[in-house]
């Protein structure tokens, strides 16, 4: 019953429950009477009234504040969406110009350089064994540590790969005769 006293005091109870509380109080439950009397004292604490002007204008002020915020966010959003296509166009143009100038720069730097953007597969078919010392010399001069023997040896790989199994067999026999096996 005690739990219902604040609502009883405030008058927010339903008719039936309110009647029950009243009957209980009339039965002189001292504990509930004391609690009711105590909490009814709280009503003496007043809330400073901000005045009629405040109550009358608050709904409009809230509405105005919401509409103002809505307008602000709309302006920001529209500004963003208006600028977006321009920004994308600028970015694409910048990317195109950047890649083009970069390509020009790399070509200008070294005519031997095979730009992977322009040729996906490197073609070394025009390089003969005579060119090897020249390339080695150039790479060594550029600071690359190339072992000429290994590099030269690797130039035979293509030739071995092109041999048929029969040719490889006879090559093996010939090498065996010269006792040059292994490796």
């Amino acid at each position: 019953m005690k739990e219902m006293l604040p609502e009883y005091l405030k008058g927010t109870l339903s008719e039936g429950v309110r009647m029950d509380v009243e009957v209980h109080l009339k039965e002189c439950c001292q504990e509930c009477m004391a609690e009711l009397s105590f909490i009814s004292e709280f009503g003496k604490v007043e809330v400073s009234d901000p005045g009629d002007i405040f109550w009358e204008t608050l709904p409009q002020r809230v509405r105005a504040a919401i509409e103002e915020e809505k307008a602000k966010s709309l302006t920001l959003r529209s500004l963003f969406f208006r600028q977006l296509p321009v920004a994308v166009t600028i970015a694409v143009l910048f990317l195109l110009v950047f890649t083009h100038t970069r390509k020009q720069e790399t070509l200008a730097l070294d005519p031997f350089f095979n730009d992977p953007f322009t040729s996906g597969v490197s073609d070394y078919s025009d390089i003969t064994e005579k060119d090897m010392p020249l390339i080695t010399e150039r790479l060594t001069a550029d600071g690359f540590n190339i072992y000429a023997d290994n590099f030269m040896a690797s130039s035979y790989y293509r030739e071995f790969a092109s041999l048929s199994s029969r040719e490889l067999g006879s090559l093996y026999e010939a090498l065996k005769e010269e006792q040059k096996t292994g490796g």
Binding site: F42, P59, V62, R63
Partner: protein
């Protein structure tokens, strides 16, 4: 509750007047709740407006199974607690200056006034107990509604409420003020 939901739907559909009606319906409750928590009229006025603006801004996130009133109360309480937290140092300064003036005759008379005693006693309660008293006694919320607003169980609300009443009696007795029926 149904009326509130209809007004919310009207606002979402573009009727700005619906919001004014919602504000009109709850403005006094929200102001009183905030005022009781922060004890400053100007700040309470400002926070009342902010509470409604915040509630309307987030209205699309409001789940209609809950009561709009309890949702609004939650926002008001959060705003008030944030305000109290921000102004903690100011309160200390104010309390110190009040303590310094306590010897004055005028403040001594004010201190003896009944409402001053009760108000001070409520202010001295822990925040959860204070909230339970404000929501139950001043706003007449049921245990269930208070539990929803405070985000705890009904049992916890009952405990906070009874502890608050008990503590208030003690504080008022200590300060030499006793309700006749006690």
């Amino acid at each position: 509750m149904q009326e509130d939901i209809e007004l919310i739907d009207r606002y979402i559909a573009g009727d700005g007047e619906a919001i004014e009606k919602l504000v009109m319906k709850y403005q006094k409750n929200i102001y009183a709740l905030i005022y009781r928590m922060i004890n400053d009229m100007e700040e309470a006025k400002d926070l009342t407006q902010k509470t409604f603006v915040r509630a309307v801004k987030g209205i699309r996130g409001f789940r209609k199974e809950a009561s709009f009133k309890t949702w609004l109360y939650q926002i008001a309480i959060n705003q008030s607690l944030n305000h109290i937290e921000k102004n903690k140092h100011k309160e200390v300064e104010l309390e110190e200056s009040m303590a310094g003036n306590q010897k004055g005759i005028l403040s001594a008379i004010i201190e003896k006034e009944i409402k001053g005693h009760i108000k001070n006693a409520i202010d001295a309660l822990p925040k959860r107990q204070q909230l339970a008293i404000i929501l139950r006694v001043y706003d007449g919320l049921s245990c269930d509604e208070t539990a929803q607003v405070m985000g705890c169980s009904e049992g916890a609300v009952k405990a906070h409420y009874h502890n608050a009443v008990k503590r208030l009696r003690e504080i008022l007795k200590e300060r030499g003020y006793e309700v006749e029926a006690l």
